[in-house]
């Protein structure tokens, strides 16, 4: 459609008379927002960065020791306190934890998302669920696991429930967002044919959602793998994270840390290849 040219008419003529300086732009909300945000961020950073450096801090020593440890990690990885098989088992445990939590999380989140998409659900439900999810998301996974490990006691239950909590909250949001992106015409059409809600969900929404559902779920799997490691370390929930924590915090054996980091990187590489395949397959 051709826009009539007089539609946008902001007075932009310069006042007559000698012009000392011609501006390049008038106030532009976007620009002002970006500038203000950047100024605030820069101010916070510059003002507080020096306060983070402790007094009597020997940067040189710290850096040499850091470089030394990095070198040990990457160039001299070997095991002392555990066996490779143990580590492999631990890695497997972390992977299983990530898998299980993603699976449970994605199924639960799917139903929550249905109940919180503007396309299908009443506003109060949408707002209610989404705020609840925002609050759950706000609590770091590791806190969930710590809390549940006291409630449930030992074993994997706490880790699974804790990570699932966060997964559900995250996935509900992204699933609901991608459902919201669905053209309203699709659902309306099905309604116009007299279809029931269950049929609309199964016959229209699921087929359209499948690709984004898969790709978000996979992304969440990667996040859950990282979380499984973190939780293993910070909440003693087992897996390769626990081993990592023991080696680095108890034995100070960075050779061993190196082995584990390599194992984790290897699995991350596998994930990256799969996600690349997924992306090219769906395109």
């Amino acid at each position: 459609m051709i826009k009539p040219e007089n539609q946008i008419s902001i007075p932009t003529r310069q006042p007559a008379g000698p012009r000392l300086s011609i501006p390049l732009r008038f106030r532009d909300r976007r620009r002002v927002t970006i500038l203000m945000t950047l100024i605030v961020l820069a101010y916070i950073t510059l003002a507080t960065l020096p306060t983070m450096i402790p007094s009597h801090f020997k940067l040189g020593t710290a850096l040499t020791s850091f470089a030394e440890n990095i070198k040990i990690m990457f160039w001299q990885p070997h095991l002392a306190n555990t066996t490779f098989i143990t580590l492999l088992g631990a890695l497997g445990q972390s992977i299983l934890l990530a898998f299980l939590t993603t699976l449970i999380g994605s199924v639960l989140a799917f139903f929550f998302a249905l109940a919180s998409t503007r396309r299908l659900a009443p506003t109060y439900l949408v707002l209610g669920i989404q705020s609840l999810m925002a609050v759950i998301r706000a609590i770091p996974t590791v806190l969930w696991v710590l809390i549940y490990s006291v409630v449930f006691g030992l074993g994997a239950n706490a880790a699974v429930v804790g990570i699932t909590f966060h997964s559900v909250a995250y996935l509900t949001k992204v699933y609901a967002d991608s459902m919201d992106e669905l053209s309203p015409g699709i659902i309306e059409t099905m309604q116009a044919m007299g279809l029931k809600k269950s049929a609309i969900i199964r016959q229209a929404i699921i087929p359209y959602m499948m690709p984004s559902y898969l790709s978000w779920t996979f992304i969440r799997f990667e996040i859950n793998f990282a979380d499984a490691i973190a939780v293993g370390a910070a909440a003693g929930a087992g897996g390769i994270g626990y081993q990592l924590f023991m080696s680095s915090s108890f034995y100070f054996n960075f050779h061993e840390v190196g082995v584990m980091v390599y194992m984790i990187l290897a699995f991350a590489l596998v994930l990256e290849i799969i996600s690349y395949r997924l992306r090219t397959a769906t395109n």
Partner: protein, 256 residues
């Protein structure tokens, strides 16, 4: 078949999109609604199957007022009203036959809807309809791979699967190339003539209306300004239908 009386609708409670619209549609006839953009054509069509709730009036379909029905009854009624959209609104990741079969889900149970359980009779019917619109060989194609004209024909087959008494078409050919336009309009014409279905079409193209319509309703600024046989549609009548209304605020862009 369908009679609309004194229909009124305002989206924002202020500006009236429809004022006192009355007309009726006969079985076996193609009725075309024409009018400038923003006149209210889409609003009329969507009021008929209550995709939007109007403010006032009566819509008699099979002698019951659709506006008075409760949710379940409305779903029942909708099962007998086919609808065809400018953007086809097919479920693109599914195949043509699945889309056509959706047309009969309205009368089926929740379970059937969830697990795609269809009777053999329905499957047969769907295949027959695809053949009728000339797409027998595309039955197992994903709809996203079809061309615009093909998609619209799947849309028609889906509407027919509802065994409708009336088919509502909102600018069914706006996105189509000339050749597909003719194919689609021919099918619609045929449905009215041979199957006795009422066909109600929103159109922008007056020349197409001339070739296919039995009856024409002209809408301008939410009011019926013309309602007669196609033969009565003179050039002056057209001019008056499309005239820019002095009362309406804003500029109305003519897109035809």
């Amino acid at each position: 078949m369908l009679t609309v009386k004194h229909l009124a609708k305002s989206y924002d409670g202020e500006k009236k999109s429809l004022t006192d619209v009355s007309f009726s549609v006969q079985p076996g006839e193609v009725t075309v609604i024409i009018g400038p953009s923003g006149a209210g054509k889409t609003t009329i069509l969507r009021s008929i199957n209550q995709l939007i709730r109007d403010d006032d009036g009566e819509i008699l379909f099979d002698n019951t007022d659709i506006r008075q029905l409760n949710r379940a009854q409305l779903r029942q009624a909708r099962c007998r009203i086919g609808m065809i959209f400018q953007n086809y609104n097919l479920i693109e990741p599914l195949t043509a036959i699945e889309n056509v079969l959706h047309g009969c889900l309205g009368t089926k149970s929740n379970l059937a809807g969830i697990f795609s359980i269809y009777r053999n009779r329905e499957k047969e019917e769907a295949l027959k309809l695809l053949e009728k619109v000339g797409l027998a060989e595309f039955a197992y194609q994903q709809c996203r791979n079809l061309s615009g004209g093909q998609k619209q024909r799947v849309g028609i087959a889906r509407a027919l699967m509802q065994q409708p008494k009336i088919i509502l078409c909102d600018e069914p050919i706006a996105s189509l190339d000339p050749k597909s336009t003719i194919t689609v309009m021919d099918i619609l014409r045929d449905l009215a003539t041979n199957d006795g279905i009422s066909v109600l079409i929103n159109l922008h193209q007056v020349d197409i209306a001339r070739s296919y319509a039995d009856h024409v309703i002209g809408i301008n600024n939410g009011q019926v300004v013309f309602d007669d046989r196609i033969q009565a549609l003179s050039d002056t009548a057209i001019a008056s239908i499309y005239q820019k209304d002095a009362n309406s605020e804003g500029s109305v862009v003519h897109e035809f």
